[in-house]
């Protein structure tokens, strides 16, 4: 027959520490570390004796307590005689205990709320049962074949309409195309091609630019001659090697 002792079970080392501080009625900011750590270790050994399984956290806290105790025993005065204001080694632990106590108190408040709330009963709704009573409306309930056909027709029309819209690719004229075009036009007009006429009928700005660039290019290569007979007058374009054109141009002017 095993003799059983009831000892309070603690949630963790913090809980046990709080209990010891309460029991000894000590100031949390001035913990008698020697007293508390010896009582703490006493609890641990008692727990071990009665086969109470303790988690490793309890041992970790025991180490912390002993380490604080050791640091407090060390002389604060350095050999040189210099006064060193060291932090109280207990401070970190105190902060942790305070924070833990805060939440432990709130947990107590929660316990009360839980109890109060357990006395209130709200209706439990059996949603599955309700769904059976109120079957969801069939979204296709009122639809006849004719509606389906009409809808299909609508879709088809929409597709047709969409086909009418076509994208027109922008016409692209390369410089070489334009040069060829001008050379051809010059061949057609040996008597001189009007600069003004070359540009009439052009609708795209890019084409105007390319045309002008083509003229510049032809001129740079020395393939054409440009002549303006009077100030602000029309410029005439000739093939350079087309002597006849030049002659006739001279005669015209």
């Amino acid at each position: 027959m095993v003799y059983q002792v009831r000892i309070p079970v603690f949630e963790g080392p913090m809980d046990l520490l709080l209990h010891l501080l309460d029991k000894n009625e000590v100031d949390i900011y001035d913990i008698p570390i020697a007293l508390i750590s010896s009582q703490y270790i006493e609890y641990l050994s008692m727990a071990e004796e009665i086969d109470l399984e303790l988690t490793s956290e309890f041992l970790l806290m025991a180490c912390t307590l002993l380490s604080i105790k050791a640091r407090m025993l060390l002389p604060k005065r350095r050999p040189e005689g210099e006064e060193i204001l060291e932090d109280d080694p207990r401070m970190e632990l105190v902060q942790k205990i305070i924070e833990y106590k805060l939440y432990k108190d709130i947990a107590g408040d929660f316990r009360e709320r839980e109890l109060n709330q357990s006395k209130l009963f709200c209706r439990e709704i059996d949603e599955a049962g309700l769904l059976k009573q109120f079957p969801p409306a069939n979204p296709l309930g009122n639809v006849a074949i004719a509606d389906l056909l009409a809808a299909y027709g609508k879709v088809l029309r929409k597709i047709e309409r969409r086909r009418e819209v076509m994208s027109i690719a922008r016409e692209e004229i390369t410089l070489q195309d334009k040069i060829d075009e001008i050379i051809y036009a010059l061949a057609q007009n040996p008597g001189g091609l009007s600069f003004h006429k070359l540009f009439t009928g052009l609708t795209q700005r890019s084409e105007v630019i390319v045309t002008f660039l083509a003229l510049l290019e032809l001129s740079r290569r020395g393939l054409i001659l440009l002549r303006q007979n009077k100030l602000f007058g029309d410029i005439l374009i000739y093939f350079k090697d087309f002597k006849g054109g030049l002659e006739s141009a001279h005669t015209v002017s």
Partner: protein, 181 residues
């Protein structure tokens, strides 16, 4: 208190509250009735007052951002004879874990354990299973640990209107403790 609405609206709201298993917000009701939310609030107050005046067996409970009919606490002993009692209450460990989450959310498991000084796996599991907390993404920290937050079920369980309704703690004390640690 006379209102500008047909008396029917109050009756409709009562009906909605009666069939709803979840707290109904004034906004939801105003959406259903197509009535201004402020007016719904007035009508809800009237319904609440009616229940009190007539000392009905139920009252209008404001909880988790909405309203729901609830029986009076003093009738609990009789009700418990009629229907099976609630689930077991939470353990001290679960309550402490819940307390830390509710004030620190979103919070990781290791942050909770830092405060409690013990492992929290099982209490986290318990309150998760009861639907009182939920995951809230992951923290951008080494290991990308899971973050936890409380749910509206938590508000209902604790009888809170919203998180602002949580018991006020000595904020300075907590802040100090948090800063120092």
């Amino acid at each position: 208190m006379p209102t500008l609405f047909p008396k029917d609206f109050k009756s409709v709201i009562e009906a909605l509250l009666f069939v709803s298993g979840e707290p109904l917000s004034a906004q939801q009701i105003s959406g259903i009735l197509d009535v201004d939310e402020q007016d719904v609030v007035v009508l809800l107050k009237e319904i609440k007052a009616d229940c009190e005046r007539e000392n009905r067996g139920f009252f209008l409970l404001e909880i988790a951002g909405g309203f729901i009919f609830s029986t009076r606490a003093e009738h609990a002993e009789y009700i418990e004879k009629l229907i099976k009692p609630r689930l077991n209450t939470l353990s001290q460990a679960a309550l402490e874990t819940l307390a830390i989450i509710s004030y620190h959310q979103p919070v990781t498991r290791s942050e909770i354990e830092e405060i409690r000084g013990v492992k929290c796996d099982s209490s986290l599991n318990t309150i998760m299973e009861r639907g009182l907390i939920d995951e809230a993404g992951r923290k951008e920290a080494p290991g990308r640990p899971i973050l936890y937050k409380t749910t509206s079920e938590f508000l209902k369980y604790m009888g809170l209107k919203s998180l602002d309704d949580l018991p006020k703690i000595k904020k300075d004390e907590l802040q100090e403790a948090v800063n120092e640690s």
